[in-house]
Structures are given as C-alpha cells and as structure tokens.
C-alpha cells in the first residue's frame, strides 16, 4: 500500500533502494546516512541476496541499524571483511556503491577530493580521491545528492576528476564506455541517469511537485528531458516500516535541510 505521508528523505531512500533491485549477489555500500538506510532497505526487501558490511570489518547477514545501538546488541556477522579484502571485492566488480560527491559534471565524473582551479593550492581541500577512481572503473556506482544545485552539477568538468565517467577525451586506450557503469543519481528533485543521447544526463523521474524548469535551473549543464517523465514512486507503508526499523532514532530527518515532506504542500 502506498503511503500518503512521507518525508522527502524517505522518498529518496526508497528511490535509492530500488537501484539494487536487479543487482543479484553483490556487495552494496551506501556511504552516508540516507544511502546506508537505502542499501539496508533493499537487503531487507527487494534483494535479500545483497552483501553488506558493518562499515568496519565484517560482512553481515542482516544490516545493522544506523545510529547508537543498545549495549546488548549483537550484530549478525557472516564473514570477516577487513579493508584489504574490500579491495579484492572492488576489483572483482561484484559491488554497487552509492556515494555522495561534492561535484558531478556532465560526463558523470565525480569529485570528493578538492575544490578550486589550482591543484597545488586548492581553495577547499576535502577528503582526497579515496577509493573513487577504483570504484568507478571496477563496478557499478550511483550517487545521492541532498541539495541539487549548479554548485554540485557543475558547468565545466569537476575541479578534481576522481572517477572515470563518459568524457571522450579521457577514454583510455582499448576501453569502451559500456565498461563504465554509472547507474543513477538521486537528488532532492528527482532521479537521473546518464543514458540520454550521447550519455547525456537525463530525467528518470521527478519527485512530486518538481518541475523540469526547476531541474534545469539548478543544473550547470543541459539535462535531457524525455517525453514521458513519471513521478518518483511513493514509498509503501511496508517500506516506511522497514525504514523505521533500520533508523529507529530518525537520523534521516536530519539529512535534508528542514526535513521537507515528500509531497510539496
């Protein structure tokens, strides 16, 4: 049964969870609160074959709830999975990650490293490239963007290109872009992918009340607008119940500014 009242964060969680429906038996990693709830939701509903870690060193047969857990909480380990083994998994390709980059460009390239035009002296140093280069060339990647704006979806290329995307000038010798698997992007405005003409970013669905104009105004490059644009599917009551179980302390309510409702009033 579709829910009638839900938050935008919950709508984004359910959209992000659907990313994994047809993945089969892969390691799913959701970086940050909303992607992690989404990955857990998928494992508890649409795709029970998913593998997930405790973000430390174990694979779990059941996802851990987010936030503080009771002192007697016992997680359901199934396999030791230290960081070096994560790389073995990454390089095998049997993984799908949802990350939250600071910049995404028209080529589906992402940036978490640094901002500014001078690499030797960045305006804002962030994390570094982390595992993004390897993730992007080895396995499926989706992105979640809490505040869709042209500061995130930048006009030019990302200040530091941390991932391989679909820029023809950067295509390595012997490679085909079909080998690069950027799946979907989940924002507070809608769901997007890079399967428009010439791998252009396109609208997959818009959240209730969001217009095409709003998307284009907040994106630094032209977005492909398909003829039919569905509204993002509302969460079901069953999904909301699972989300509550995964996030009993309602950390999801703190992830988007002012925790807006899913259906704009």
């Amino acid at each position: 049964m579709m829910a009638t009242e839900y938050s935008l964060a919950e709508l984004m969680i359910c959209a992000n969870a659907s990313a994994y429906d047809n993945d089969g038996e892969v390691l799913v990693t959701g970086i940050g609160v909303l992607p992690r709830i989404a990955a857990s939701l998928a494992m508890l509903s649409s795709n029970p074959d998913i593998l997930m870690t405790d973000s430390e060193s174990w694979l779990l047969s059941e996802p851990n709830p987010v936030g503080n857990r009771p002192a007697d909480f016992k997680q359901k380990n199934e396999t030791w999975m230290g960081f070096s083994r994560i790389f073995d998994n990454v390089w095998s390709g049997k993984r799908h990650l949802t990350g939250g980059p600071t910049q995404i460009d028209r080529f589906a390239q992402a940036n978490i490293s640094a901002l500014g035009s001078d690499y030797k002296k960045p305006k804002v140093q962030m994390l570094g490239v982390r595992g993004f280069p390897g993730n992007s060339i080895c396995h499926a990647n989706s992105y979640l963007v809490p505040a869709h704006s042209s500061r995130v979806f930048v006009e030019g290329e990302c200040d530091v290109v941390c991932t391989i995307g679909y820029n023809p000038e950067r295509l390595p010798k012997g490679y085909d872009f079909d080998e690069i698997d950027v799946r979907q992007v989940y924002t507070n405005l809608g769901v997007f992918d890079f399967r428009g003409p010439n791998r252009q970013m396109q609208i997959v669905s818009l959240h209730p009340g969001v217009t095409v104009e709003e998307v284009q105004e907040n994106t630094g490059f032209p977005v492909h607008i398909p003829e039919n644009i569905p509204t993002t599917a509302a969460p079901t009551e069953a999904q909301l119940e699972l989300i509550h179980r995964i996030d009993p302390q309602n950390l999801r309510a703190k992830q988007l500014k002012d925790n807006p409702p899913g259906v704009r009033s």
């Binding site: 070096s84 490239v129 060339i137």
Partner: protein, 291 residues
C-alpha cells in the same frame, strides 16, 4: 634477538628526508606515540605514506612533511582533517594523491620487489593527470592501456600493534589489520609500538599465533607504549577519543597547532602527555566506536 627499544630512542633510528609509512587507517590504530616523538624532534623533509588521519595532520602542521602520498586524510566522524586541509590550502605540500587501492598495490609491489603492478585504477581520472610520474603503459597481453603503479618503497614503517614479544612477533587482535602487514613488508625497517610486551610463550597458543600477520623478519624494533595509539583507537582495547579530536579540530580555528603542541606535546614525555589527556586508565576506558 632482542629488538626492544625505548620510545626516546626512536628518533635516533630516523633521518631527514626518509620515506616513512604509517600504519592504521584514519582515526584507527595509528602509532601516535611514535608520531609525537617525530613532532618533538628536528627531523624534516619527510615523505609520508599513509591512510591518513591526525598522524598526517600533525606532521604537516609541524612542518615535517615534504611530500605526502595519500588517498584521503580524515578523522571519519570529523570528515575533514583540519591541519592537512590547512597545509594543502596554503600550497605547502608536494603530493602524490592516489586511490586507496593503488596505495595497497604500491606497497605490495615494494614488498614483492616489483618495480610496479599494473592496474586499471586511475585511468580516465585526474590521478593520472596530477601525477605526471605515474606511467600508463601498454600490455603485452591485450590492447588496453594500464596504469603502472610504482612500488612505494619505505625506508621505515611505523605501526602500532596490540602485543609483541622482544623478537618482533607482533599481534593485532583488533577487527582489522588495515594495510599494516603491507607497510611492514614494504619497509626496510619496521618499528612497532605496542600496548604490551609479552613473553614469546604467549604465541604458543594457536589462537594467539593466528593474529600475527607478518613474520618477525619484517620487524626491526618494538617499543612498549600502552595507550600509544591515543587519540586514535586501538580496538578492542579502546576507542578513539572524540572530545580530544574535537578539541584538536577546534584548535585549528583558535590558537593553531602551536597551541595544541604546547598543551600536549612540547617538552613532554609520553607519560606526561597521557597525564594531560586524563591518564592511561581514561584512555583504556574510551568507548569503542559504533559505525
């Protein structure tokens, strides 16, 4: 062979310009007591290879780092390391910014005596553009190009372990050894601080020997420093010190590293440092992190 050293002997093992690998990961099981010895020393022009946390931030802030080989520098719950950030934004650092997995491959290449290991990681990204020394090569077996990730040879690896004996048998009982085994293998000299020096008899039990991840030939010195990972964690013995990291982070905005250094490190022995942060019992009582 007795490889025991005292903490104050560490700096005598190090030289200006050395390439030093630091074990641990972000705010987890960093050899911070060893790092503090470097901070107090005259050592300079170091090349640091690290899955970076406050070890990197502090060494940058103290002007010890000429070049940094990194994939990230982060305190996890405080995502951006304040002093690493400052050093980068001031344009002070020479950097080799690579993917986390590339760093592992570089350490493995060094450990195995290979000049490089081929990988597709980095292709199509600025990792290649920003590291002109990183070569992209043709394969003798296929039509694709590959990144030749060079060996990251370390003069010294600094690691914090749970327990060790005086021969250099080192044990890590925490849930993850991170890349410490590869750091040890990539280095000419591995210096390990540990929570506890134990009798070799300890490892007779196979349930103890199973948590030894490199051979003692890869360890050249052991130094007993209980609490020596503070303020980073040494799971399962203690978690990372959240209030301390918060104060450290705040110091970047008020007083700068000089104030932090003066409060906790300058002119202080490790015992005095620990007294300034609440004592060893308080360190050992720090709650384990929940992820």
């Amino acid at each position: 062979m007795n490889k025991e050293l005292q903490l104050q002997q560490l700096v005598g093992q190090l030289r200006d310009g050395m390439t030093i690998g630091i074990g641990g990961w972000g705010p987890r099981r960093k050899p911070m007591a060893l790092v503090r010895e470097i901070l107090k020393s005259d050592l300079k022009d170091l090349t640091i290879v690290s899955y970076g946390g406050a070890d990197v931030g502090m060494l940058c802030a103290a002007g010890k780092v000429k070049k940094l080989v990194f994939a990230f520098v982060s305190l996890d719950f405080i995502p951006l390391e304040p002093y690493f950030r400052e050093a980068r934004q001031n344009g002070e650092l020479e950097v080799m910014e690579i993917d986390e997995g590339m760093m592992l491959l570089g350490l493995r290449a060094a450990a195995w005596g290979c000049p490089f290991i081929p990988t597709k990681i980095g292709l199509g990204t600025d990792v290649i553009r920003n590291n002109p020394d990183l070569k992209v090569i043709d394969s003798p077996y296929d039509e694709k190009e590959w990144v030749a990730m060079p060996a990251l040879k370390l003069d010294v690896a600094l690691i914090h372990a749970d327990r060790a004996d005086r021969r250099g048998v080192c044990q890590i009982k925490g849930p993850d050894l991170y890349m410490d085994d590869w750091m040890a293998r990539a280095a000419d000299t591995t210096i390990v601080s540990c929570e506890e020096l134990v009798d070799s008899e300890t490892f007779t039990d196979e349930n103890e020997a199973r948590f030894v991840f490199w051979e003692r030939t890869q360890t050249q010195a052991v130094i007993e420093v209980p609490g020596g990972a503070h303020p980073s964690s040494c799971t399962p013995l203690y978690g990372f010190d959240i209030p301390h990291f918060q104060a450290y982070n705040a110091s970047a905005k008020e007083g700068g590293f000089a104030a932090y250094f003066e409060n906790y490190i300058q002119g202080k022995t490790e015992q005095e440092y620990q007294a300034a942060v609440g004592g060893l019992d308080a360190i050992r009582a720090l709650p384990l992190p929940v992820y």
